[in-house]
């Protein structure tokens, strides 16, 4: 029997962890001589106070949904995929190749192809660590870390030596043709009379990210393969006894994970930059870890956590613009969120469990 009711497990514990992380962040802001309340107000105003702010918040959130789902799927198979950064980097390469290689007549045709390109490249980058884990027993965490670095070096090489247009000094691809331009939320919402900010980068990819959340939920809780993934994640020996092939689960879960991370590129590469530049992922692969941990690896939780981190990112950028608090504050908050919701989970959980135990005892006695 579980000690805690389900709501305490999925809502109370993460919220308290989050509050702890926020409290320490406030303390940090105080220590560097700024006002945390004013900072929070400015973040809310900057990230949620206008459709411009929302446009950036949702743009960042789109990235984090994809990388968060990527970490979550692997986590259900009890694998810790730290390679989202590298997989998203390679996904960007896939999207860029698709966008530049074919003279697309319309974005509606280019987008599905780019999605396939990004997902394939992301999955391919996850496939090698997955195969090494499944067949050679190499620890997936270490290999995916190594593949982040190898991926960055590979992209560096490709951008400098292969895909850079002639005469350009900038290590980046040529601009994608105008036909591959994805409609922004402004262009999508204007026909139905909503005036959304023109200059914000949120685009149709956000809707794809929402679909991805539903798809991952369906996969994990409504398909046989999803059941096998979760069974394997709970107990490998139990799953093997039930006739589930570890090789199939490790490969399958990691390929889906890598594909999701690679899909992120339709947002940042195709939707925003409209060309592939160095370090286009900007750490979103790592934020996926925080997002998945906070969202308890459930697609709905991932969605909420991704929007929260989108808010932090846009709010943090506003802070850096208007105060002397550097943007690195977000990195600190991110670290604290991972620390409290992930590593120090038991520190929060144990006292709460004790409270519930005491309550139950009183109820049975009384």
């Amino acid at each position: 029997m579980d000690v805690m009711p389900k709501w305490a497990d999925v809502i109370l514990v993460p919220v308290i962890s989050l509050l702890l992380a926020m409290a320490i962040s406030a303390l940090v802001i105080l220590l560097i001589g700024e006002d945390p309340v004013a900072a929070l107000k400015m973040m809310v105003q900057g990230a949620l106070g206008s459709s411009y702010g929302w446009g950036y918040t949702l743009y960042y959130a789109t990235n984090f949904i994809f990388t968060g789902l990527a970490v979550a799927v692997a986590y259900h198979a009890s694998m810790f995929n730290i390679g989202g950064e590298g997989q998203a980097t390679l996904g960007g390469l896939g999207v860029a190749i698709v966008c530049l290689a074919v003279p697309w007549p319309h974005w509606a045709l280019a987008l599905p192809a780019a999605m396939i390109g990004g997902a394939l490249f992301g999955a391919a980058w996850a496939a090698i660590p997955a195969w090494l884990q499944a067949r050679r027993g190499s620890h997936i965490v270490i290999t995916t870390i190594m593949f982040n670095f190898i991926g960055a070096a590979l992209l560096n090489y490709v951008l400098v030596n292969v895909m850079r247009p002639e005469g350009s000094m900038d290590p980046a691809t040529a601009n994608f043709p105008p036909a591959t331009h994805l409609p922004t939320l402004h262009e999508l919402l204007a026909p139905i009379g909503i005036n959304f900010s023109k200059s914000a980068p949120a685009n149709v990819s956000f809707l794809i990210a929402l679909v991805a959340c539903v798809a991952v939920w369906l996969l994990l809780w409504r398909t046989r393969f999803g059941f096998e993934i979760r069974a394997f994640g709970r107990s490998e020996s139990g799953a093997v006894y039930a006739g589930i092939s570890p090789f199939k689960i490790i490969m399958g879960a990691m390929l889906i994970s890598g594909a999701l991370a690679g899909l992120m590129a339709i947002n940042n590469v195709m939707g925003e930059a409209e060309r592939l530049v160095m370090n286009s992922v900007e750490g979103a692969g790592f934020i996926g870890i925080a997002v998945a941990l906070m969202g308890r690896s459930h697609p709905l939780g991932v969605l909420i956590a991704a929007i929260l981190f989108g808010f932090l990112y846009q709010g943090g950028a506003e802070l850096a613009l208007w105060t002397s608090i550097p943007r690195d504050l977000i990195v600190v908050i991110q670290g604290l969120v991972i620390l409290f919701t992930g590593a120090l989970d038991n520190m929060v959980r144990m006292p709460i469990e004790r409270v519930f135990l005491a309550l139950r005892r009183r109820r049975t006695e009384g």
Binding site: F80, N156, P326, D328, V331
Partner: protein, 322 residues
């Protein structure tokens, strides 16, 4: 390519491998006791910042070194708390600490020095100066041996020699003392150590603490020896390369020295494109050179060239009561 160039490259290899070696030995202690540590990077980074900041304000590099070690120990303490006391996920804890260090150092640096997340340049007593080994001047004229002794071996900061001495010290501590035996045992079979009446928690905290000290020295060397001051993200993935070296060395001290020299050589070569062009008959992309440590580690991990088997209880929190 002349003899002088070889000496120059090896000289910078020795220097660049020092932080790798210290961090690698730190990881060795931690992982041998069963605590995975991907937060080596974090500990080095905070140590680099605090050593540079304190060395700048006090003017003494030694006080800076102590501050760096202290900062690194605080991070080691958090890692210990999360992974030993609260039995959390050690990998997640390491990831969290890496972010914390990366953001925190810039935040504090900006708040203290207002120079865009760096410390002011260190001069004079705030830096580790190169020290000359005895007779370095007088044997410099001797062919072959002279340059090797006076240019390659002599003339480094004291921490380079500390790192080199740390290798036999680690070997002796781990393989020739009772503490070392217990520490290795706790990474393989903590229940057995517990049954023998030795504290698993205590041993693991000790290992994590030693790792903290070694990472502290590594970070201090980066900011006050190798360079003159702290800059944002100055560890530049060295913690991960050290981790790679640790796997490459299969968790053994002397092999760690070899692995760190190899990876240090690769870093040194990446800085000398003229030498790279002279060695390789084809055009060697510098990106390939950069990612070589990671590629080699993956190959080793895959078990194609000997098998790397980590300590058996690595990554698992020890639960006494069942």
């Amino acid at each position: 390519m002349g003899f002088d160039t070889v000496i120059q490259v090896l000289d910078s290899t020795l220097r660049l491998s020092t932080p790798l070696l210290l961090a690698c030995l730190a990881g060795l202690f931690s992982e041998r006791s069963g605590i995975f540590d991907i937060g080596l990077e974090a500990k080095m980074l905070v140590a680099a910042f605090f050593s540079a900041a304190v060395a700048y304000t006090t003017g003494s590099v030694w006080i800076g070194l102590l501050a760096g070690i202290a900062a690194s120990l605080v991070f080691a303490g958090i890692h210990g708390l999360a992974s030993i006391t609260f039995r959390g996920n050690q990998l997640i804890s390491g990831v969290a600490l890496n972010f914390l260090a990366s953001g925190m150092t810039v935040l504090i640096a900006q708040s203290w020095f207002k120079q865009g997340g760096r410390t002011p340049s260190l001069i004079g007593g705030a830096r580790f100066e190169p020290i000359d080994l005895p007779f370095a001047g007088s044997v410099a004229g001797v062919p072959i041996v002279g340059p090797i002794y006076s240019d390659l071996l002599s003339g480094h900061s004291v921490l380079v020699y500390v790192a080199l001495l740390a290798v036999p010290a680690t070997w002796w501590l781990l393989f020739r003392t009772r503490f070392g035996l217990r520490l290795r045992a706790v990474g393989e079979n903590p229940a057995a150590v517990d049954t023998a009446g030795v504290s698993v928690v205590g041993l693991r905290y000790a290992a994590v603490g030693i790792a903290g000290v070694l990472c502290g020295i590594a970070g201090a060397y980066l900011a006050t020896g190798l360079q003159a001051g702290f800059v944002k993200e100055m560890t530049a993935g060295r913690g991960y390369i050290a981790l790679a070296a640790l796997i490459f060395a299969k968790w053994r001290p002397w092999h760690a020295l070899g692995a760190c020299w190899l990876f240090g050589l690769l870093q040194a070569l990446a800085l000398r494109t003229d030498v790279v062009e002279a060695i390789f008959p084809f055009r060697m992309p510098v990106q390939l050179l950069d990612s070589m440590p990671y590629i080699l580690t993956v190959v080793i991990l895959a078990g194609f060239v000997g098998k790397a088997i980590p300590p058996r209880a690595g990554g698992q929190p020890y639960v006494k009561e069942r």
